[in-house]
């Protein structure tokens, strides 16, 4: 799975928008949306929100956690704790990225939020790296990683499993290799 796919999944998350048009309920495979009343907040999936925003058909209301104070708290908590702390949304990174890219005019202090999310992300990825490192070094059979989001798993997961495969191969080759004829060459 690549990050584009993860982002695709994240686009199903609901966000609140304020439409500036009027439309009856629309019936989609994924569920019914609307009705859209001008000036009245309504919850829609992220993909629709971004689409409407790009057409200047709505204003996006940032999710509740997308607030400098709250994010600072989360960042500090993340830095303080050894383990991963729960994130406000399982798609916090994707949501932030998409919303800030497309609707930054509707989000107060967009730049600060971007930095804060990036900080949190970096902290978490660093933690992940450290724990992967120790995992490999100590040759553990399993590790428990709570509160990781899909995107984070995705960044480390593919590489880690592949790396482990390689190491496994190398290790298994090493053992028989001692007595293997190849050594004799």
């Amino acid at each position: 799975m690549d990050s584009a796919e993860v982002e695709f999944l994240a686009e199903k998350e609901l966000v609140t928008i304020i439409p500036n048009f009027s439309l009856d309920k629309i019936y989609l495979i994924g569920g019914d949306l609307g009705p859209f009343n001008p000036g009245l907040p309504v919850e829609v999936p992220l993909w629709l929100a971004i689409n409407l925003k790009q057409r200047q058909k709505c204003r996006v209301i940032p999710p509740e956690w997308m607030d400098v104070e709250k994010l600072e708290e989360i960042r500090d908590q993340e830095r303080k704790e050894e383990t991963f702390t729960p994130m406000p949304s399982p798609y916090y990174m994707e949501l932030t990225k998409l919303l800030l890219n497309h609707a930054s005019d509707n989000i107060p202090k967009a730049d600060e939020i971007r930095t804060l999310i990036k900080d949190t992300w970096d902290t978490r990825i660093a933690k992940l790296r450290v724990s992967a490192d120790s995992f490999v070094k100590q040759q553990e059979a399993h590790a428990k990683l709570d509160n990781l989001t899909l995107m984070e798993i995705n960044t480390a997961g593919a590489f880690l499993t592949q790396a482990l495969n390689h190491m496994y191969k190398l290790r298994t080759n090493l053992h028989p290799g001692e007595s293997a004829p190849s050594q004799d060459f």
Partner: protein, 1106 residues
């Protein structure tokens, strides 16, 4: 001029504090529980000098550069002032001293302590001290007589409760001698100040005031001995004039903390006070009115104040206004506010009074204070002079204490609904369901931004605000702006009519001079402005001046919707914080009328109007400052029903919801949550939240209460449908039907619930609210749950309802006839269609009901005659019930059948007519014969329409058949809802085999008419056999022949048919001719001929089928 209360400031950590002035009054000295003595240059001194005297300081006294404090190490210390260097310990106690005072010349101090002892010590020589023992309680406070003769101390004074420790004492009871003459000793006892005469120790006077509700703590004399100030443990400070015993000032501590220190400024009119929480406060201009200050100044200030409060011209006032809007009714609400207000009132009189005495006062008073402090001797004279003055102006002094009734509240300023206060530099001018108008008032520029929720109405616009527009409104058609007049420019109304189809989209109108626009609103096709001249001006949206009329009072706010104009105005003066508002509702459409004639507007106690407008559906609503939303209930004589309490939804105490719109369908209250304020800021852009409505019904937690609330809410929120239909607006039928269905369901639920609880009486009460169908259901429910009495009652109710319904229908019918005479076809035919639609739905419901009914009634039909339908009628009345129960399908049929027995034939005939239609519609092959048979027999039975009514029936039947679609839909349901007996009959109709059967079919209705009690098919057959036997042989043979012959005889039958068919149509024409003569000539020929022709067409249609 009332005492100006400066805001309190932090002085010490919480705990007991004391305060005094230095000799010249240049600084305030406080001590507190942190053991510090602070020296304040004034109240705003941010860097007071602190002297640490110990761990806790209990009391301090200052005289002649010596600062004496009693501190927690049980000592009384002396410090130099203002340097604060320690100057030794004066005396010690075994516990801490509670109070320490200087004598008049500063040579001695007296200190009272918790160890029951009082010591008097010479300041210069601390070895010179006297100890007073013998008290049998801790000494709360001490006071030295100015003449150094008496020392008084409060301990176990018989008037006071004895207590074993200072902290337990209710009041610290700081008593005070008159500072100069020492004639009187003032002691706070409970809620009063007792004045004791020197030497006789007689209780001379009690000073008290209603304002004081809790015991007084401290008392202090003014340096001139004329006034006495006292502070209570709940933060009241009251000042009396000792001579007149009038209460001069009443001030309430802003937080209501205990006043524990009180000191008069030695020269000026200031009182410094401290509270038990360590705060320091200052009252300025205390008792100014008695001419201590220059009176000209006083009167000037009084006037200004008055202007501030009432006139509303200067900037100050704008701030006031906004305050008023935003936050602070508290200003009025707190007792403090009351006093202020009252004082203002008095000042008006004072100002007047003073002008008379100005010269006189000016002379002596400027100097009086200084003189008093220097020349002791002349003081008395001055004092007396002043007394004379007060007597000379009895009005002003007597006014204050004697008037204790309700106080008028400040009338609310005019406002636009959905706007934020004017003094804000960024504010909303309007936020409504159409869009938002924001106003920016920066230093550089001032601009107005208009934004529409729905961009398809109009794009967002940006206007520069050079004229300083302050009032705005927004609708689908236009933007309306208004500004107040300035010195050069008149008040202006500016309309941006963006929906205009021509190229000029703006117009402005100047108001006449001295007339300011105070409120504006937009409706559909019109704009209105209310002005300060109490005029309401209506303009067309294109700028044509229309009606002008006078308002009954100063406008508060206005709202428009469609043709409706809502005006809220001041009906009079409110008292004790209440507003006294009236409301007018006008309709400006074709039919101009006044719906609400300036009725009083109910508001929550001590609240003001915060929002007024219409729901999206056009029902007037308003919100008061307490967050109660009320809506007009047109079905209860235009009363106001509270539908929501937004405060209940608030999390914090100071949170509010700022209402922007109300929708009845779906039920939504659109508002903006504001944290800690009444209105939202423009940035960050606030988001709308939706609240649900809830009527304040009792016991909402119980199922019963819930359902009742739901029922009445649904009832109220569908009132607008009635209004819309009344006024000829379009609306969706489905919503109405849904509403009725919902209401009936709720009623049924409540019915079932009360049934379960054995509340049969209540059941009947509920049934009274039900529609006919629901009542039938209820009857069924009752009989099934074996409540026979209830079922009986309900059936009686059902009969009543049916007759009522019939009566109203009859009236309606007559109405229709009247209309017929005057109006054109289209006008009445439309509502007819509407009617049918409704009924169609009803019929559906009833169909369902009846299906169930049929099952149960197989067993129970004896109990419940109403389930039996049409033909089985027990009596005319009951018959009418049944027919009307489904009868709303065809109201005209009902009315016919509801006639007295004499015409009951009609009813049967019309029933059969219906049957015929049914069958013809089915038009299957086997039916044909039956059809023929029917129509054959029908003819003799068709009554010659004798009355107008019958004609009408026929007429309308044809009319309805014009709208065949509806009919066709309607009839199947009709047929289904007929009783099983009838359907059985139909089945028989399909295959008439023997002559008798055919005969029976023909004559069934006759039999039924003669024997209305027959309900069973077998009875009818029996009777039929009897009759058939009576017939002659020939006739019988003919019937048999017919039965056998079938096709062969068809032609013959057709012939007879046509003959007979002609007959009724002839009848019709004859009838109509009669009618013509009888009736108005207006009854147009055309229509009749149309009716006839349709009749013929119909019959032709029937024949074609054959």
């Amino acid at each position: 001029m009332p005492a100006t209360q400066m805001t309190m400031r932090y002085g010490h950590p919480e705990g007991h504090t004391d305060v005094c002035f230095d000799d010249s009054g240049s600084c305030i000295v406080t001590c507190g529980s942190d053991g510090d003595v602070r020296i304040w240059k004034d109240l705003d001194d941010d860097d007071p000098k602190s002297i640490n005297v110990g761990e806790r300081a209990y009391s301090c006294a200052l005289k002649k550069g010596k600062l004496v404090t009693s501190v927690s190490n049980n000592t009384v210390q002396i410090h130099t002032f203002p340097n604060g260097t320690p100057d030794g310990i004066l005396t010690r106690f075994t516990t801490n001293a509670n109070h320490v005072v200087f004598n008049k010349d500063g040579s001695k101090i007296a200190a009272g302590s918790g160890d029951f002892m009082v010591k008097v010590v010479d300041v210069m020589d601390s070895s010179q001290q006297k100890t007073f023992r013998g008290h049998d309680a801790p000494v709360l406070s001490v006071s030295l007589d100015p003449n150094d003769i008496f020392l008084t101390c409060t301990i176990s004074w018989p008037l006071l409760q004895k207590c074993n420790d200072v902290i337990n004492a209710k009041s610290i009871c700081r008593l005070a001698w008159q500072p100069k003459t020492g004639k009187l000793l003032a002691i706070p006892v409970g809620n009063t100040i007792k004045l004791y005469k020197r030497e006789t120790w007689k209780n001379e006077v009690d000073l008290s005031d209603n304002f004081i509700t809790l015991p007084l703590n401290v008392v202090t004399w003014s340096p001139c001995e004329k006034y006495l100030a006292a502070g209570s443990i709940n933060g009241c400070i009251v000042v009396w004039n000792v001579e007149t015993k009038d209460c001069m000032e009443r001030v309430k501590h802003e937080k209501g903390y205990t006043i524990c220190g009180l000191a008069w400024h030695p020269t000026s009119r200031q009182i410094a006070y401290t509270d038990a929480e360590g705060n320091l406060g200052l009252l300025e201009n205390v008792c100014d009115k008695d001419g201590i200050k220059s009176s000209s100044k006083v009167s000037g200030m009084g006037n200004k104040d008055y202007n501030d409060l009432f006139d509303g011209d200067d900037d100050n006032d704008n701030a006031d206004n906004s305050n008023f809007l935003n936050e602070n009714l508290e200003f009025q609400l707190t007792p403090k506010g009351k006093t202020n207000y009252e004082d203002d009132e008095d000042d008006l009189m004072l100002a007047a009074g003073y002008s008379k005495h100005r010269n006189h006062i000016l002379e002596d008073d400027d100097s009086s204070v200084e003189v008093a402090s220097i020349e002791k001797g002349s003081y008395h004279e001055k004092d007396e002079e002043k007394d004379e003055q007060t007597h000379a102006m009895p009005l002003m002094t007597s006014q204050r204490p004697f008037y204790d009734g309700p106080r008028p509240s400040l009338p609310q300023k005019p406002f636009q609904s959905g706007s934020t206060p004017q003094h804000l530099s960024h504010r909303f001018m309007v936020w409504n369901s159409v869009g938002i108008i924001r106003c920016y008032n920066d230093d550089q520029d001032s601009a107005i931004d208009v934004e529409f929720h729905d961009t398809s109405i109009h794009h967002a616009t940006h206007l520069s605000n050079t004229l300083n527009y302050t009032i705005a409104d927004l609708s689908h058609e236009a933007i309306l702006l208004a500004c107040e007049s300035t010195t050069e420019l008149a008040s202006k109304l500016h309309c941006l009519h963006f929906s205009s189809w021509d190229s000029s989209k703006e117009w402005t109108v100047d108001m006449p001079p001295n007339e300011d626009i105070e409120a504006i609103c937009l409706g559909q096709g019109w704009a209105a402005s209310a002005t300060s001249a109490l005029l309401l001006r209506i303009f067309s949206i294109g700028g044509v001046q229309k009606e002008v009329f006078s308002l009954p009072g100063p406008v508060v706010s206005m709202a428009g919707h469609g043709e409706q104009l809502l005006i809220v105005f001041h009906r009079g003066t409110g008292f004790d914080g209440d507003q006294c508002l009236g409301i007018q509702l006008l309709e400006l459409g074709k039919r101009k009328r006044q719906v609400l004639h300036g009725d009083p507007l109910p508001l929550t106690k001590k609240s003001y109007l915060a929002w007024v407008g219409f729901s999206a559906e056009g029902t007037p609503c308003y919100v008061d400052s307490e967050g109660i939303v009320r809506i007009l209930n047109r079905r209860l004589g235009n009363t106001w029903t509270p539908i929501c309490n937004t405060k209940e939804h608030c999390k914090g105490k100071s949170d509010h919801y700022w209402v922007v719109g109300i929708h009845e369908n779906p039920q939504q209250l659109r508002c903006i949550p504001c944290k800690g304020s009444r209105f939202p800021p423009t940035l960050p852009r606030p988001a709308v939240a939706i609240l649900s409505f809830q009527l304040p019904y009792c016991q909402i937690a119980t199922e019963k209460g819930q359902m009742e609330e739901q029922f009445w809410r649904s009832f109220i929120f569908h009132n607008h449908l009635d209004y819309l239909s009344e006024n000829g607006y379009e609306y969706e039928e489905s919503t109405k039907n849904q509403a009725i269905k919902e209401q009936q369901e709720l009623l049924m639920k409540m019915f079932a619930l009360s049934c379960k609880l054995d509340r049969e009486f209540r059941c009947v009460e509920l049934a009274e609210l039900m529609t006919q169908n629901a009542v039938n259901l209820a009857i069924k429910y009752a009989s099934r749950s074996r409540r026979l009495i209830l079922a009986q009652r309900l059936s009686e109710l059902a009969v009543e309802k049916a007759t009522e319904l019939a009566a109203t229908l009859k009236e309606e019918e007559e109405d229709f006839r009247n209309k017929l005479n005057t109006s054109s076809t289209t006008e009445w035919s439309q509502p007819m269609v509407v009617n049918h639609k409704v009924e169609e739905n009803n019929a559906k419901d009833s169909e369902e009901d009846d299906e169930i009914e049929e099952k149960t009634d197989l067993h129970k039909n004896k109990q419940n005659p109403f389930c039996k339908n049409g033909n089985s009628a027990d009596g005319p009345a009951i018959k009418s019930v049944t027919s009307s129960s489904q009868g709303r399908v065809n109201p005209f049929k009902v009315s016919a059948s509801s006639k007295e027995p004499a015409i009951s034939v009609n009813s049967t005939s019309s029933n059969i007519l219906d049957n015929m239609k049914k069958l013809s519609k089915k038009s299957t092959v086997p039916n044909r014969t039956a059809n023929k048979e029917k129509s054959l027999v029908l003819k003799p039975l068709i009554p010659k329409p004798k009355s107008k009514q019958v004609l009408a029936t026929n007429f309308f039947q044809t009319c309805t058949s014009q709208t065949e679609k509806i009919e066709e839909k309607e009839n199947p349901e009709n047929s289904l809802s007929e009783s099983p007996a009838l359907s059985a009959q139909n089945i028989e109709n399909e295959r008439p085999k023997t002559g008798f059967q055919m005969w029976l079919e023909e004559n069934r209705s006759l039999i039924l008419a003669d024997h209305p009690s027959f309900s069973e098919e077998s009875d009818i057959i029996k009777e039929g056999i009897n009759r058939f036997r009576i017939l002659s042989d020939e006739e019988r043979k003919e019937w048999a022949k017919k039965a056998k012959g079938g096709t062969t005889n068809e032609v013959e039958i057709n012939e007879t048919e046509t003959k007979k068919r002609k007959q009724p149509s002839n009848d019709h024409t004859k009838e109509k001719e009669e009618e013509k003569t009888k009736e108005n000539v207006n009854l147009s020929k055309k229509r009749k001929s149309l009716a006839v022709s349709t009749n013929q067409k119909l019959s032709a249609f029937a024949f074609k089928k054959d």
